[in-house]
């Protein structure tokens, strides 16, 4: 059942067995998993079924440390959560992701791949990923995909699958299932401002709920699960401090620390000897014969990464064209689009938004004159329409899809005829967990009186050194393979972080998992240390960021949590 929190009687108390706070990928997964059990489930989602600016502003908060996206646009606050602007890129973690790496402090999960694997297939289904086959060779055979000819003992190619855009939103995909679940009630517009605890602080007793129009009520439950994202999870635990000033699960000052992202920036340029270098690597986001879209990237082999004692650094390749295509980009009509692409690392939403709007009407023209005579795809009028009518916050959320669809499709159709100028190599780092990278409570308060989150994103110089060494090795491999030559854009191991540093909207680590209460906020079952009935779901429990993208793994972990809760409570 889906209910409106505004209609709940004021100051009433709802009784449930399980209270799930957050209706994103984790919260919805948990609710669906508990549907049909004897447990009464209350799911509390702050947003509604559509974007609402006032609700979204509850996410606002200061950013210190390294530059980062504005917090009010780095996630989404409506049913389905951030899956509503998800890029849809999926790949499961591998065995090494869970293991301790002696040269990386804070690495190692208390669980292993074997604990998660039983849930990956269902997670894949829930995420609507096309197949469970992640083997490179399969995609080579199926998609006529051509990886670069590197020695696989040194540089490997990995394939991720991309969920079709119209299937990414958990809110849209599972709304009807939530509505039909007799033992689940999803309350929309329900903002949890504090989790109340008993006298000794070891049991959660109720969630205080407020709506933006002034309604307030509570939800009492036997079990509580916090699933509001990697920034809001610590915010809510820290803000639940009316009885214990340090908040919940924070006896060892760990809640909010170890904030992880997948930082990325252009770290190298490959100049190919063949200007028509293996194009399938670049535009393998196509869907050949319905086998699904993919995205590939390079990385050092695990053996070499271990021998060199490095962070894992993944490398995305992005072609830069010359000739007629560059000419098109040089034209007046395309200037705004190029500025848009250049400005992706810029956090100035207004400028990005203005560029998007300026270029939207010219997209068709640009694509037509890019390479005359070629079959240019439809310029996505529905996308353009959205762009023109959207707010700046919505525009920023659309950028990955907008570029992915419009630009990549155009590239795909002209590739093979347009010579390459160079290939931009984007480093994506799995950084060292850093306790100084953290979410804290700001002095500012939101419209409901709750302290805002403040993000201080930090990286380690070891991360930069890992990028540089990885690119040195890659430069040798490129030379040996006879592909071209690589220019490293990272000048030294102690170089400052570049201006184009950004993240992937992946918020992890802030309630990290450890069996040791002095090293983690939750245990292997995602139960908050020192709390008998409080759990955390989502990528905030990741101790390290992993080689895959977070969504499918956080869904798998949530399925595992559901199993644990059912076993414990029924």
């Amino acid at each position: 059942m889906i209910a409106d929190a505004h209609s709940v009687p004021a100051r009433s108390s709802i009784q449930a067995d399980v209270c799930i706070i957050g209706g994103g990928a984790a919260g919805i997964t948990l609710a669906l998993s508990l549907a049909g059990t004897p447990l009464q489930v209350a799911l509390l989602e702050s947003g509604g079924e559509a974007f609402d600016a006032d609700t979204q502003r509850l996410y606002d908060g200061p950013v210190t440390g390294l530059p980062y996206f504005p917090l009010e646009t780095a996630r989404l606050r409506l049913l389905g959560g951030s899956t509503n602007h998800w890029g849809g890129v999926c790949r499961p973690f591998d065995e090494t992701d869970f293991e301790r790496q002696d040269w990386i402090p804070g690495s190692g999960w208390p669980i292993g791949l074997d604990d998660v694997t039983p849930h990956y297939e269902r997670a894949r289904e829930l995420c609507q990923v096309k197949t469970g086959d992640w083997d490179l060779e399969t995609w080579v055979d199926r998609d006529r995909y051509e990886p670069f000819p590197f020695d696989p003992e040194r540089v490997v190619t990995r394939v991720a699958q991309i969920v079709p855009k119209d299937r990414r939103s958990f809110g849209e995909a599972y709304r009807s299932e939530l509505e039909q679940a007799a033992n689940v009630t999803a309350y929309l517009g329900a903002n949890v401002t504090e989790i109340e605890v008993d006298d000794d602080g070891t049991s959660a007793t109720r969630a205080d709920v407020a709506t933006l129009d002034g309604n307030a009520f509570t939800v009492a439950a036997r079990t509580f699960v916090v699933a509001v994202g990697g920034i809001e999870n610590p915010r809510l635990l820290l803000a639940s401090n009316s009885r214990f000033p340090e908040g919940l699960g924070n006896r060892h000052d760990l809640v909010g620390r170890y904030f992880l992202e997948h930082p990325r920036f252009a770290a190298g340029v490959l100049v190919p000897f063949d200007s028509h270098l293996s194009s399938p690597f670049f535009y393998n986001d196509h869907d050949v014969a319905g086998s699904g879209r993919t995205e590939s990237y390079l990385a050092l082999s695990r053996e070499l990464q271990e021998a060199e004692e490095l962070d894992e650094v993944q490398i995305r390749v992005e072609p830069v064209y010359q000739g007629s295509f560059e000419h098109a980009l040089d034209s007046d009509d395309a200037d705004a689009f190029r500025d848009l692409a250049d400005g992706l690392g810029d956090r100035d939403i207004g400028e990005v938004g203005r560029n998007l709007k300026a270029v939207a009407g010219d997209m068709m023209t640009w694509q037509e004159f890019a390479v005359p005579g070629l079959p240019i795809p439809v310029p996505y009028p529905e996308v353009i329409g959205k762009v023109v009518d959207s707010s700046s916050a919505e525009l920023e959320q659309m950028i990955p899809d907008f570029l992915g669809d419009a630009a990549a499709v155009a590239y795909r159709n002209v590739i093979g005829t347009v010579p390459l100028e160079s290939v931009r190599l984007i480093a994506r780092i799995n950084p060292v967990p850093n306790p100084e990278s953290r979410v804290t409570l700001s002095d500012e308060r939101d419209a409901l009186g709750m302290p805002r989150a403040e993000l201080d994103w930090q990286l380690s110089q070891f991360d930069m050194a890992s990028v540089r060494r990885t690119f040195e090795i890659l430069g040798s491999e490129i030379g040996q393979a006879g592909i071209g030559r690589l220019r490293i854009l990272v000048e030294s191991t102690d170089a400052p972080w570049p201006d184009d540093l950004s993240g992937g909207w992946h918020h992890m680590g802030t309630t990290r998992m450890s069996d040791d209460p002095t090293k983690g906020v939750v245990d292997r079952n995602l139960q908050v240390h020192g709390m008998s009935n409080l759990y955390v779901a989502g990528s905030s429990v990741f101790p390290t960021s992993g080689s895959g993208t977070p969504t499918m793994t956080l869904v798998a972990l949530t399925l595992r949590l559901a199993e644990h809760i059912v076993k414990r409570m029924t």
Binding site: F273, G475, Q480, G484, R487
Partner: protein, 132 residues
């Protein structure tokens, strides 16, 4: 003081003068020309490059990093790797350099010149041009 190597300069060397063929053993040096019989091994090695004007700044940048190699004789011995360079034919020199480049990358014997990851052999070949 050396000036930064532009992408255009590097591309000119790479595309026009044979970095590709330096690295690819299956098509060694067929794009390179040496029309005038050089008198010395150094001149003949430098003559393997079609666009010396683009190779020169790369070589200069390399020599700024390795000033102790700023000697024609030393560079010839390093590029030719102890072979009898003076008596080698042009085609033998081409094969020698191609193999050197390939082996350099395989063994990680690279030089980073203005950010470019080059084999030591090719960097020294460019340096020979810079000294010529």
């Amino acid at each position: 003081m050396t000036s930064p190597i532009t992408r255009r300069q590097f591309l000119t060397v790479a595309a026009g003068a044979g970095l590709a063929t330096l690295a690819v053993a299956t098509s060694p040096w067929k794009a390179l020309v040496g029309t005038t019989p050089p008198r010395s091994a150094a001149e003949r090695l430098a003559g393997l490059l079609k666009h010396p004007e683009s190779a020169r700044p790369i070589g200069e940048a390399y020599l700024a990093l390795a000033p102790h190699e700023a000697s024609t004789a030393r560079l010839v011995s390093l590029v030719a790797a102890g072979a009898a360079a003076e008596s080698a034919s042009d085609s033998e020199l081409r094969r020698l350099v191609a193999a050197g480049v390939r082996d350099d990358f395989s063994a990680g014997r690279t030089a980073e010149v203005d950010g470019w990851v080059l084999s030591l052999t090719e960097a020294r070949l460019f340096a020979l041009v810079a000294l010529s």
